[in-house]
């Protein structure tokens, strides 16, 4: 069977995965180019159109100040998904560096770093990020850093395991015995070959981090009020639960759909794509 037909069959058999990729792509597009989806201002409202239900004119309805909720959710993607990306980047970079050092150097450094990772995993991650937010202060970037730090231990563990596996490989041995310097071996041979599972883990973490970031934003530690964030949009609708269901339901549904899609895509990256390409 040709490659193209195999690929077509792979996607046709997985309509859920296709939908997940679409949702994720839309969410990321909204985060970086909100203008593509809506021309409405997320911050200023039309007082005459307060608390309107969803309609063709206002897809997600309007809030208590007459602001278009769809526009706020779209612009909220910018804050929430950029915060998520930053958090994953913090975990990925710091965790990989620590895992690389622990696995490659070994010995006492390895023991010490892995004990620290164990402890970080023993403190519930929401509590740890809350402690970090207490110390750093409030705001989208600080929330992102706080959440990112809690994922460092997970990344470090996976990177270390991969480095231990790759370190003994023949090509690493060959590079070392042919006189490459240790740092060059590490960066040119060990890191590229160890990074696959770490990147898959980054995809897995993406959904978890969206949830963590929006939870902190829901609790009120994210951006200052008028700026829309997914978590704070949900909490903003709390006072109107009985009268305006869309204010909490639709932003929350957006978060859930994004996390679900990220989970589906990361599962595909983890297993199915690998199996299919074999």
């Amino acid at each position: 069977m040709s490659r193209g037909r195999a690929a077509a069959r792979f996607w046709l058999r997985r309509p859920g995965l296709v939908a997940a990729v679409a949702v994720l792509a839309l969410a990321l597009l909204a985060a970086f180019f909100p203008g593509l989806f809506t021309g409405r201002d997320p911050l200023s409202g039309v007082p005459a159109e307060r608390l309107r239900g969803p309609s063709l004119h206002h897809l997600f309805g309007t809030d208590q100040l007459g602001r278009d909720l769809f526009s706020r959710v779209v612009h909220g993607a910018a804050l929430s998904l950029k915060a998520t990306s930053l958090a994953v980047a913090v975990g990925l970079v710091a965790g990989s560096a620590l895992g690389l050092a622990a696995g490659y150097v070994g010995g006492l450094l390895d023991d010490a770093l892995m004990r620290i990772a164990d402890v970080l995993l023993a403190i519930p991650s929401l509590l740890l990020s809350l402690a970090l937010v207490t110390a750093l202060g409030f705001g989208t970037v600080k929330v992102a850093v706080a959440v990112g730090v809690t994922s460092v231990a997970g990344f470090a563990r996976i990177m270390r395991a991969e480095v231990l596996r790759v370190r003994e490989a023949t090509y690493v041995e060959a590079a070392r015995s042919s006189g490459s310097r240790p740092l060059a071996v590490l960066l040119r041979h060990v890191l590229p070959n160890a990074s696959g599972p770490v990147l898959v883990y980054a995809a897995v973490e993406f959904g978890t981090v969206v949830l963590a970031v929006s939870a902190l934003s829901f609790l009120g530690y994210g951006a200052e009020p008028p700026a829309p964030e997914w978590g704070s949009l949900v909490s903003g609708g709390r006072d109107y639960l009985a009268t305006a269901w869309w204010l909490t339901t639709l932003p929350g549904l957006t978060i859930a759909a994004t996390v679900l899609a990220a989970g589906r895509v990361s599962r595909a990256l983890d297993g199915e794509a690998k199996e299919a390409s074999r």
Partner: protein, 318 residues
């Protein structure tokens, strides 16, 4: 006392010490100026007089060298003293202990519910012969871990309390007010338990003893619920132990959504007011809950499977 138990206890003590040290570093070293953070109470620093700051410094020992501060705090923490809340002036330990019963009620109800639902979904998914039903049941966990807890809570309030008027939306008076918060908190937990249990059940059902039992004439139901269930119970149990910390953390959100009192609410308030001693006490408390839950699991696992003697119990999940 068996040796593995001693080992476990020592590990637990180490984790607690390390959690204390981590929280000390995060809360008192990272900010650079913890005193003005505490003095501002989450607001502006400008309305705090220099005298107040000096007074705070003296009371909380920030005028001493760092090593001495750390030693002092650790020494007090060892005796269960985590200092005084900046906000209320109450001792941190009493503040947490006073709110503990409400949160224990919530988290244990949620854990019970999550175990029953999670195990039920996993058992039904592996037992049924209907393909669509199995697919549907196995896709539930992914939904459960994807829905934000705060959103699930608010949707439940919207439907059950406001639209149908069945249960109270807020507060913690009586059993009826416990139902919605416990269900909310149980959703992600049950999803994880179902996922892990379904996987271990499938592995157990592929073991040779299953075939032997069936060949000897045991009914499919008996093999499934008798043999496989017991053999597959350990991974979800160890995971449940690890989830106790998450339940505690989840109570921060659930208690906020349902306006309940409890440790979670204390946490949210303390973070908002940047009440450093309270937050530190809570981090150590979270680690304590995690450690105790895992110790309990270590004690139960050998009862389920005599081949496992503690030392190997946690290896199952690692």
């Amino acid at each position: 006392m068996p040796r593995y138990l001693v080992q476990r206890l020592l590990q637990a003590v180490f984790v607690l010490w390390a959690a204390f040290t981590t929280s000390f570093v995060v809360l008192y070293l990272l900010p650079g100026d913890p005193v003005s953070i505490m003095a501002s109470g989450g607001g502006d620093t400008n309305d705090v007089s220099p005298e107040q700051i000096a007074e705070l410094k003296r009371v909380y020992g920030f005028d001493k060298p760092l090593v001495e501060q750390y030693g002092d705090r650790l020494w007090h923490a060892l005796r269960g003293d985590f200092g005084i809340s900046v906000q209320s002036g109450d001792p941190v330990t009493r503040l947490i202990a006073g709110q503990l019963p409400a949160t224990l009620q919530l988290t244990s109800a949620a854990l019970l519910l999550a175990t029953v639902v999670g195990a039920g979904v996993a058992l039904a998914a592996t037992y049924t012969r209907r393909r669509w039903l199995r697919q549907a049941l196995l896709s539930l966990p992914a939904l459960g871990v994807s829905a934000p807890t705060f959103w699930v809570g608010l949707i439940l309030v919207q439907l059950v309390s406001f639209r149908w008027g069945l249960l109270p939306a807020i507060g913690n008076e009586g059993f009826r007010s416990l139902i919605l918060p416990a269900v909310t908190l149980a959703v992600p937990t049950s999803a994880v338990i179902a996922q892990v249990f379904a996987r271990s059940l499938r592995a157990a059902l592929a073991e040779p003893y299953v075939e032997t039992a069936l060949a000897k004439g045991a009914s499919r139901r008996r093999v499934h619920f008798g043999h496989a269930l017991r053999n597959a119970a350990i991974p979800p149990l160890t995971v449940a132990g690890m989830l106790v910390g998450n339940l505690l953390a989840g109570s921060v959100i659930v208690e906020t959504v349902f306006s309940r009192t409890g440790v979670g609410r204390v946490t949210a308030t303390a973070v908002t007011a940047q009440d450093l001693p309270v937050v530190q006490g809570l981090v150590v408390f979270g680690a304590l809950a995690f450690v105790l839950a895992n110790l309990a699991v270590d004690l139960i696992v050998p009862l389920l499977d005599p081949r496992i003697t503690g030392a190997a119990a946690t290896a199952v999940t690692r």
